[in-house]
């Protein structure tokens, strides 16, 4: 047991205790603690990743003194370590990206509360990634929901509270169904540890008994997690939640929170029930249909939006649709493409949110489409960042969007019946993305008339004025280009991780 092996457990505990501690600290120290925690966890995750890559196979870390079927345990593989590292990087950039907004929008006293929420969110994400026990997963799902609701509500305007309430209601529905599914599984298999459940389910499947309860358990869990990660028909809460909350929480919510649930779903597919049983159970066809619908309808409603942040929120619905379409293809290549898309969407979406806030700063803080004309000239870096984000969303080569579109297309080829529907949906949604993203890019680069700028009081924003936001944008652009240009090692990493995953 090398010392490195208990880094995952330490990082979960660290972020868990950082939460309550920062409640007593004042604003400055709470921020420093939070950043320290994120950086520390990032370093620890890299150490774990290197260790696991070196050892070449995953390991189980039992907590408490009870042996397997009763005690709790964490299972760490390449995929988990990589995801943890990536989530830390993105969270770090989102947090430092939104510093300015937080100064303006949150009252003095509430700052450290914000950092509590961020720490708890990080802790629940790490737990979701590492845990090998279903009920612990459910508990951390709840913690995740509550902290995300706190992040939305931190801005205290009428809209955010209403958005938080809607978010809470929909998430409770989702977690209710998830809990029901877990209880069904528990009643069927008698275990809560994922590997044991898998053994039992294999026996049941071999015996051919309890087909109906098993199927209902799978459906409940997938629909529950679909509701929580805002798949198409259950996405009504998303635009308000992401559209009106403060910048860093919108960025964190859109890139990380919904991805945590999707990762849990992947874990359930692979480690709890076994992917081949899932394939026979036709649940993935339902997810495929909802995914395709999400891809198209998400972009269609984004085209109708005239508020830039809500438009980006709607585009997240479309991208979540992409991921579920990847699951729906029912091939391991599809899962790899979806996981890659989780990474690329996280990077691109946070870049877009931060860039759009940069643009709105240069347009007198109004999110309205018509005030943004020519804002690309007023805030050069934000304009460039937004263009990079949009090009990546549209799938222009050299950016991460292109690689994930390529992986999805290659995965679609392996499934004989769904080739055409998937490829056509990909092409149509690229066109729809072009319509609303590049329309905005053209708008921010058509110069506004002189007198309009003066009487509306827009002023230019130089790069060094908002240093933290600029750093965040530059790093995210670099991350995006990194994902786009050297994607070969990453895909190989995910592939190896998935083999070990089962």
């Amino acid at each position: 047991m090398a010392f490195v092996q208990n880094f995952p457990f330490i990082s979960i505990l660290l972020s868990l205790f950082a939460g309550p501690i920062s409640s007593v600290l004042d604003k400055k120290w709470a921020k420093r603690l939070n950043l320290f925690v994120i950086v520390a966890i990032g370093i620890m995750s890299t150490a774990v990743l290197i260790f696991v890559l070196g050892s070449g196979q995953e390991y189980v870390y039992t907590m408490g003194h009870f042996p397997a079927p009763w005690g709790n345990e964490i299972r760490v593989g390449i995929l988990e370590a990589a995801m943890a590292l990536f989530f830390c990087v993105v969270m770090f950039l989102c947090v430092i990206g939104g510093v300015l907004e937080r100064e303006l929008e949150i009252e003095e006293t509430k700052h450290n509360l914000y950092y509590i929420m961020v720490n708890l969110l990080l802790c629940s994400l790490l737990a979701l990634i590492y845990t090998n026990d279903l009920f612990t997963a459910y508990v951390f799902v709840e913690i995740n929901t509550i902290s995300a609701c706190g992040l939305i509500m931190i801005r205290q305007t009428g809209r955010t509270i209403e958005a938080a309430t809607r978010y809470m209601i929909m998430s409770l529905l989702g977690s209710g169904l998830l809990l029901l599914g877990i209880c069904f599984l528990y009643s069927l298999t008698g275990h809560l540890l994922m590997s044991n459940i898998k053994g039992q389910v294999a026996l049941i499947q071999a015996a051919g008994a309890y087909q109906v309860p098993l199927l209902t358990a799978i459906c409940l869990m997938s629909v529950g997690l679909a509701i929580k990660s805002a798949l198409y028909p259950f996405h009504t809460w998303l635009p308000d939640a992401y559209g009106y909350s403060t910048l860093s929480s919108a960025a964190i919510l859109s890139s990380l929170v919904s991805k945590g649930y999707i990762f849990l779903l992947v874990k359930i597919f692979y480690r709890v029930i076994g992917f081949d049983i899932i394939k026979e159970s036709k649940v993935i066809n339902v997810l495929f249909v909802f995914g395709i619908a999400g891809m198209i309808m998400g972009s269609v409603s984004a085209i109708r939006e005239s508020d830039i942040q809500r438009m980006i929120a709607y585009s997240s619905v479309a991208q979540i649709g992409y991921i579920y379409m990847g699951f729906g293809l029912g091939t391991t290549a599809g899962i790899i493409a979806s996981i890659y898309h989780i990474l690329s969407h996280a990077a691109t979406k946070s870049l877009l949110f931060i860039a759009s806030s940069g643009i709105t700063d240069a347009s007198g803080k109004s999110n309205d489409f018509f005030d943004l004309t020519g804002s690309g000239y007023r805030n050069r870096l934000a304009g460039a960042a937004f263009t990079v984000g949009s090009l990546s969303m549209v799938g222009i080569p050299m950016f991460s969007g292109f690689i994930s579109k390529l992986l999805f297309a290659q995965a679609a080829l392996e499934n004989r019946h769904k080739i055409l529907i998937a490829l056509l949906a990909l092409a149509i949604s690229t066109v729809l993305n072009t319509v609303y993203f590049l329309k905005t890019v053209i708008r921010i680069y058509t110069p506004e008339k002189r007198e309009v700028v003066i009487d509306k009081g827009f002023q230019d924003v130089a790069i060094w004025e908002q240093s933290s936001k600029s750093i965040a944008m530059i790093c995210l652009i670099a991350l995006n280009l990194f994902l786009g240009l050297c994607s070969e090692p990453l895909v190989a990493l995910i592939e190896r991780g998935l083999e070990m995953f089962a």
């Binding site: 290659q410 080829l413 053209i442 680069y445």
Partner: protein
């Protein structure tokens, strides 16, 4: 000739272009000299490459295992490269004069020179991934050019252009995926790379994907359902409409369709199938539709743009014949149409530059005052009509030969369509000449006293193009042998 020269030929204009706004130019003509030198060097490099082609490929950058940006100049690519290398220096020379009146020249010339590098990249692409990469870059790089005037229509035109091009590329992406997954290699191999055994012999799916990919790439070649963006792009300054929307961009689309038909999917697979007939029907409809719309247009540049739509479908018709003669016809028409159309657009540009008049009914009596420009316009009109002795006749001859030899009724209908469109071309081109040279009886020339020919900077490219037209028309042997060499290498 070693192969890294290819990369220099592609990257030099791109880097040269990017530097333009940042280099401190004292006077305007220092910048002009700088740009002209860069473009000339690239053209010279390209011609050196064309005359002794490097055998091996050059991999510039490798995304993943299969995906790489790599260049290899083969015979077909060199035809497209010749057009670009021959026309770009002259077009840049022309645009120095033209852009005096338009604003922010630095941005314009930056993207104008970058487009040269990107189109060369398309010509020299070794595999379908590089072609797709530069195809997308071409759209992005030409958007600022179309958006140059930043007027209301420019913004709308750019938006349509973007949606059509990126949409087309998205559908072409499906074709690329099929080639990557089911082809033996992603490189362009004459005769096609697809092996049916890998995809379980489902030929109809392959044909459907070919149709989708063909339509995707031919959005840029302005095939019928997607040809609305080309006339609207006429709102851009003339050097853009002339070089890009009559030569570089649209030819890139036609070239891409040629590549996938002959080098990726392979003609044995496609000849005689429903895919070929469906696309041929579409192309034939575009030939006639383009001309009839041109007839109705009164705006000079939009009329020429519609005529480009129809002439491009000549090239696509040649490509779709899928026979050696058809390919020869497509390539010769690509060459000769580039010459004719850029000449016509530059004449229109000269008229707009000197008099600011866009509409045909304002051109009465201009022939007397601008004899040089309208003389050249008439010659290019004759060439477009296919009068023997000019380059138009040569390319129509090969297209017709291919159509007659194809022995299928659709080929004959295509030939009839080409002749009908030649007649319509005669009508909409010569009405301008008759109006210019033979105004009505009581026309007083004082009203247009300010009209006179532009200076030598504009007229030099025009004269060179006309001479080239006559040379190819009267002595087509040079072009015919070059194209025969290309066709031999493909079949």
């Amino acid at each position: 000739m070693n192969s890294y020269i290819m990369v220099i030929a592609v990257l030099l204009p791109i880097l040269g272009g990017v530097l333009i706004p940042f280099l401190p130019f004292g006077k305007r003509n220092i910048m002009a000299a700088y740009i002209e030198i860069i473009v000339l060097i690239t053209s010279v490099l390209t011609f050196m490459l064309i005359f002794n082609r490097p055998a091996d490929a050059f991999v510039l950058f490798r995304f993943t295992g299969q995906l790489s940006i790599s260049f290899r100049l083969d015979a077909t690519g060199s035809v497209f490269a010749t057009i670009l290398a021959f026309m770009w220096p002259l077009a840049t020379l022309y645009s120095f004069e033209y852009m005096k009146h338009e604003g922010h020249e630095k941005i314009f010339f930056m993207f104008y020179t970058i487009t040269f590098g990107v189109t060369l990249g398309i010509a020299m692409a070794e595999d379908i991934v590089t072609l797709y990469f530069f195809y997308e870059m071409l759209t992005l790089v030409t958007v600022p050019l179309v958006l140059h005037t930043l007027s209301r229509e420019a913004v709308l035109a750019t938006r349509t252009y973007l949606y059509y091009s990126i949409g087309g590329a998205a559908f072409a992406f499906i074709g690329m995926i099929f080639v990557l997954m089911y082809g033996n290699t992603s490189n362009f191999i004459p005769g096609g790379v697809m092996d049916l055994s890998k995809m379980g012999g489902n030929i109809n799916l392959l044909l459907l994907v070919y149709v989708i990919c063909f339509c995707g790439f031919s959005v840029k070649a302005a095939m019928c359902p997607f040809s609305d963006w080309l006339p609207q792009a006429g709102v851009a300054p003339t050097p853009v409409t002339a070089l890009l929307h009559a030569v570089a961009v649209v030819k890139a689309g036609a070239f891409a369709t040629l590549r996938i038909t002959y080098f990726s999917f392979g003609t044995e697979l496609l000849r005689g199938t429903w895919a070929q007939y469906l696309l041929m029907a579409l192309v034939i409809f575009t030939i006639v539709y383009g001309c009839s719309r041109a007839l109705k247009e009164t705006h000079l540049k939009r009329r020429l743009a519609w005529s480009t739509v129809s002439n491009l479908s000549y090239i696509l018709f040649g490509v779709l014949l899928m026979s050696p003669i058809g390919l020869a016809g497509a390539l010769t028409h690509m060459l000769s149409h580039a010459l004719m159309k850029i000449c016509a657009f530059f004449c229109a540009g000269a008229v707009i530059y000197k008099t600011g008049r866009n509409y045909i009914h304002q051109l009465d009596g201009f022939g007397k005052k601008m004899p040089w420009v309208f003389g050249i316009y008439t010659v290019s009109a004759m060439a477009l009509m296919g009068v023997p002795g000019l380059c138009g006749f040569v390319s129509k001859w090969y297209l017709a030969k291919g159509a007659v030899e194809s022995l299928n009724p659709l080929g004959y209908i295509g030939l009839a369509a080409i002749l009908v469109s030649a007649l319509l071309t005669a009508i909409y081109m010569l009405t301008v000449t008759v109006r210019a040279f033979f105004p009505e009886k009581g026309f007083d020339f004082e009203k247009i006293s300010d009209v006179e020919d532009p200076n030598w900077v504009m007229l030099l490219p025009l004269t060179i193009f006309v001479i080239a037209m006559f040379i190819i028309g009267l002595h087509p042997q040079i072009m015919v042998d070059a194209v025969a060499g290309v066709v031999a290498s493909v079949f």
